[in-house]
């Protein structure tokens, strides 16, 4: 009769349980890694903070001159006689891009007809709230610098925040 490797039932169950526990932990970790894999650390989108030129490049009027040159970067730069503010081009209804209609002096969204004044306030169509504003400041070299990472919503009273508006008296 050969010697059997008999350590008993208890140690067998303990070993098997440990095995299953390790297997489960490894599987959960593997699944977690798969999910984390789907969230890229870097997207090749343009920077959120960028300069748009010198104040002298922008005209002003009492209602506000809407400048479209950075619309492809998702902003309109509006200059009144008191200063600058920057509007987001994302319609607050469902996310399409409105167009600035110069003759009618309003932003009009082609998707469902939302209308906004040059200030960004919604006045017609399904948009539930005004267009959002972004942070605007004067960079060290004198250029206007926009930071899309900071947004200001009128309905939350955030347009009173001095960061959402750049005070600059317009002189011809």
């Amino acid at each position: 009769m050969s010697e059997t490797n008999d350590k008993g039932r208890r140690s067998f169950l303990a070993a098997v349980s440990t095995g299953w526990a390790l297997f489960t932990a490894a599987s959960v970790a593997g699944l977690g890694m798969c999910v984390r894999f789907l969230f890229p650390n870097d997207t090749f989108e343009p920077a959120t903070k960028f300069k748009v030129g010198y104040p002298a490049d922008f005209a002003a009027s009492s209602e506000g001159v809407v400048d479209k040159r950075y619309k492809t970067r998702g902003i309109w730069i509006v200059r009144t006689l008191d200063g600058f503010f920057v509007l987001s081009t994302v319609c607050t209804h469902l996310g399409c891009t409105p167009n600035w209609l110069e003759t009618e002096k309003k932003f009009k969204c082609p998707c469902h007809g939302s209308g906004f004044y040059s200030s960004g306030i919604n006045f017609e169509g399904p948009a539930p709230r005004p267009l959002e504003r972004f942070n605007v400041s004067l960079a060290a070299d004198g250029q206007l610098e926009i930071d899309k990472g900071k947004k200001y919503q009128q309905e939350k009273g955030q347009w009173d925040d001095p960061e959402s508006f750049l005070k600059m008296e317009y002189s011809v």
């Binding site: 789907l38 090749f44 469902l94 996310g95 998707c111």
Partner: protein
């Protein structure tokens, strides 16, 4: 010895077909049982199972359309590139430069039809009470399959990369930012934090995971292509197998309550 008998007596033939000609019950049963593709289905079907006035045949049509979509979809994959620079023109090329010319349309029409047959099938199952116990689980499997069918339509819609596609997906995925806990503009997002670092932001919520970036762009096109061609069809295929198996185990199609 006739040629047929020579062939059917050969070892090669017997290696492929493990049964004789199915003109008797035993070989008829073996013909289905020994085939990996056929054996998900039962060997015999009730007479009521082929009555269109009972079943409408909508479930079968849906599966048929799923196969049509798979075949036309794979054919389209030989020409379509899910890259921003090429996508739109590849769709146009499939119409103007590729033989048949309507493969993309067949795929699209098949998709529309599949959504219609899915809803009609659901209606029929409801009207015949085929969701009642013990068949509740299969009804739920069917609901998930419905959602997967709609997701296939949603992800496929982006692939032509035209104005309709981009804005439809922009609007559709904007809803994801308001998801509770998982969306950065949804309720509860502020509570998911590690110390003072918010884990659910515009760059890390479920919408970001779906789009692959903060806006609908190149990453989204590729992601939706993979979802549309691989992930969702695999999931749907698995659940279809479960769905058919459940029907069989619950007594076969058009079986008594």
């Amino acid at each position: 010895m006739s040629l047929m008998k020579f062939i059917t007596d050969s070892q090669i033939w017997k290696s492929i077909f493990r049964h004789k000609y199915p003109d008797n019950p035993r070989d008829q049963a073996l013909a289905v049982l020994s085939n990996v593709f056929l054996h998900l289905h039962p060997i015999k079907v009730r007479k009521s199972g082929v009555r269109m006035s009972f079943t409408w045949c909508m479930g079968g049509l849906t599966f048929f359309l799923f196969l049509v979509e798979t075949i036309t979809g794979v054919l389209l994959m030989f020409y379509y590139r899910p890259v921003v620079e090429y996508a739109y023109n590849d769709i146009k090329a499939l119409r103007d430069h590729v033989p048949i010319g309507i493969m993309r349309e067949l795929h699209r029409w098949g998709a529309h039809l599949m959504v219609i047959t899915v809803w009609l099938h659901m209606l029929r199952v409801f009207l015949t009470g085929s969701y009642k116990p013990p068949r509740e689980f299969n009804w739920n499997v069917g609901v998930i399959l419905l959602v997967l069918t709609l997701l296939l339509s949603f992800t496929g819609y982006l692939l032509p990369w035209d104005q309709l596609a981009i804005w439809a997906i922009t609007v559709g995925t904007n809803m994801a930012r308001a998801t509770p806990l998982m969306g950065h503009e949804g309720p509860g997002a502020a509570f998911i934090q590690l110390g003072d670092v918010s884990l659910v932001t515009a760059g890390s919520d479920v919408r970001f995971g779906l789009l692959g970036s903060k806006t609908v762009g190149a990453a989204t096109l590729l992601r939706f292509y993979v979802l549309h061609c691989i992930a969702v069809p695999l999931g749907a295929g698995l659940l279809i197998a479960v769905h058919f198996w459940r029907v069989r185990k619950d007594g076969g199609i058009s079986g008594p309550m």
